[in-house]
């Protein structure tokens, strides 16, 4: 129950953070030079004339927020709407409400993210386990080399090369667009590679840590076959902490696929967000920002919950530990974090 109470407090913190975030975003938006109208002008490609769109927006704005109200009132109005998930019309797409834009865009981004994460996990876990078992062999260093290489390139660059190879040269996959599963392949791969490397490295080091635990030795001393010992004692305990890396990774993917979306012309949420920011589309930007924030924080909560469920120790302990686990997650999230190259001895018989 200390557990539940702890999550109660966490929820409160989330709420607080959301308020701060929205306020920050709004302020930044006020500070940022250039208004929506100005930018309409710019994209209209001719000077000295404001797009009628800007007018339409002015109208929209007036009806929702009242005529030239002070900024802080606009903010309040927006937040009032936000509470009931009624974010009002976007500037850029006056006919569409922000929530509907999100409703359209998010499933797309989410699909990409989930698929990418699944693929990453599917490859990362075996690779990491294998590398750990074959520690300090060509297999180990080799696979890690390749992975790090894949990770070293930012995903948009990987994407470019993928496109050049599979669409440009081999003509087997579409280079861009959003017209069916075949359009998913390249972007998902491009997104998966980075996480894949991080996860695999993490699995590996986590495995090495577990392998060097005394209870693994004890299990062997009980006469367990390597396969059984690894499956029952090593795998589980090494994969539990993986949750703490995967969660935020998924969240990050769900919210931060801007490059990929632009490059492959995928109507995802990342794109709407970037456009909103650059076109100063207040409602859309605020909406997406809040939505992202919620997603990210929700994943945090879920991860901690799941972690607690998977690891009896954490379950039994108080929130303090969970906080701790989040910290360590933060560190392991970065490339190749985790343990040293098995500086602790790993028992034989698992080779």
């Amino acid at each position: 129950m200390g557990y539940l109470e702890f999550f109660g407090r966490r929820l409160a913190r989330v709420g607080f953070s959301l308020v701060v975030i929205s306020a920050l975003t709004f302020t930044l938006l006020q500070l940022a030079p250039g208004s929506f109208a100005d930018i309409q002008r710019a994209s209209s490609g001719s000077t000295g004339m404001a797009g009628a769109a800007a007018q339409e927006v002015a109208g929209q704005f007036a009806t929702r927020y009242g005529d030239d109200v002070p900024a802080w009132q606009q903010y309040l109005v927006f937040m009032k709407g936000a509470l009931t998930w009624d974010l009002g019309p976007s500037y850029k797409y006056p006919a569409q409400s922000v929530e509907s834009i999100i409703a359209q865009g998010f499933p797309v981004s989410a699909t990409l993210a989930v698929l990418a994460t699944l693929i990453a996990l599917a490859i990362a876990i075996p690779t990491g386990v294998f590398a750990a078992l074959k520690q300090r062999t060509a297999w180990d260093t080799g696979s890690m080399f390749v992975l790090t290489l894949g990770h070293a390139l930012p995903n948009y660059l990987t994407a470019v090369f993928l496109v050049l190879i599979f669409a440009g040269a081999m003509h087997v996959l579409p280079a861009a667009g959003w017209d069916g599963p075949q359009h998913l392949i390249l972007p998902v791969i491009a997104l998966a590679i980075g996480p894949l490397a991080v996860l695999a490295r993490y699995v590996r080091s986590s495995m090495l840590d577990t392998l060097s635990e005394e209870y693994v030795t004890a299990a062997i001393a009980k006469g367990g076959r390597p396969g059984v010992v690894i499956r029952k004692h090593v795998l589980r305990n090494s994969l539990i902490p993986l949750v703490t890396v995967t969660g935020p990774m998924l969240a990050a993917l769900m919210t931060g696929t801007v490059f990929i979306e632009t490059m492959f012309r995928i109507p995802g949420l990342g794109l709407s967000f970037t456009q909103a920011a650059s076109s100063r589309d207040m409602p859309l930007l605020m909406g997406t920002t809040l939505f992202f924030a919620i997603i990210l924080m929700a994943t945090n909560l879920v991860v901690d919950l799941v972690y607690g469920l998977l690891d009896p120790r954490v379950r039994a302990e108080s929130g303090r530990k969970l906080r701790g686990s989040r910290i360590s997650r933060k560190d392991v999230g970065r490339p190749g974090a985790g343990s040293s190259e098995g500086s602790r001895a790993v028992v034989q018989g698992l080779g």
């Binding site: 940022a32 990210l296 040293s340 500086s343």
Partner: protein
């Protein structure tokens, strides 16, 4: 692996520092005679770009920029991270709560918006991009320092120091801080490539550094010409990968040296 990469990094640093000596031309020198010259053209080993500027030279200076950005950004975020992290970790209570809240917020906050703001207000120049990166970076590191300090706080020598009559600040700065630096060094060496990537990313969004040669800009342009003049993307991409790999592996090395395992997790 770590050692090789260490050398690579050192070489790269030398290149960055002595760019003027290494680069065959100043990065801005145009040669309208031969634009988009392919790799291996006379005088331009890596070819030229749309303005006939020597790609090798631009790579060299570009790395200088990238490294500068990364370095300064890191210094800033490390300083912030240390001060915040140590206070939060050592004092706990209020300060800690505040940090956690701050990190929560930063964690969920669109850095892009910061980037846009900074870059828009202060222009697409070195400093704003650098600041944007630093803003993004300090949180993670502050968290790490905090974690470190919290574990170190429980070590006997802290009690010993108290026994010797040392006061809080002394303990925090003289005894705990030095021992918390190790892991931070690791994250920093990982953060350098991260920073370079971020800069490149900002360029992709048209928010990168415009007033000096930057890898981001080069890659961005290279991508546009990917099909027609592959050499414009290939060499930057390779340079990019090599640098990132080198730093990452160096990071691994450093981490092994400090063996963060015991501290870092659990």
């Amino acid at each position: 692996m770590a050692f090789i990469s260490l050398w690579v990094v050192l070489v790269l640093l030398l290149v960055a520092i002595f760019a003027p000596l290494v680069a065959p031309y100043p990065p801005q020198t145009t040669d309208y005679g031969q634009q988009l010259a392919p790799i291996g053209s006379p005088g331009h080993p890596l070819g030229t770009d749309t303005l006939g500027r020597d790609i090798l030279s631009r790579l060299v200076y570009g790395f200088r920029t990238a490294f500068l950005v990364a370095f300064v950004a890191e210094v800033i975020s490390v300083v912030v991270a240390l001060s915040v992290g140590v206070v939060a970790g050592y004092r706990g209570g209020r300060a800690d709560g505040a940090l956690m809240a701050a990190t929560d917020i930063m964690y969920a906050f669109p850095t892009y918006l910061f980037a846009v703001l900074l870059v828009t207000v202060f222009g697409r120049n070195f400093w704003s991009v650098m600041a944007a990166i630093a803003v993004a970076g300090w949180v993670t590191q502050a968290r790490l320092v905090r974690a470190q300090v919290m574990t170190l706080k429980k070590r006997d020598f802290v009690e010993a120091a108290q026994g010797m009559g040392a006061k809080g600040p002394t303990i925090a700065t003289r005894y705990i801080l030095p021992n918390a630096l190790g892991p931070l060094l690791v994250t920093t060496s990982f953060a350098v490539p991260a920073a370079i990537t971020t800069e490149a990313g900002l360029s992709m969004l048209g928010l990168g550094i415009a007033d000096m040669p930057s890898w981001g800009a080069m890659i961005n342009e290279g991508v546009r010409f990917a099909t027609s003049s592959p050499h414009m993307i290939i060499s930057p991409a390779i340079a990019f990968a090599v640098t990132l790999l080198a730093f990452t592996w160096m990071g691994d090395g450093v981490r092994d040296a400090f063996d963060i395992t015991s501290e870092g997790r659990r």
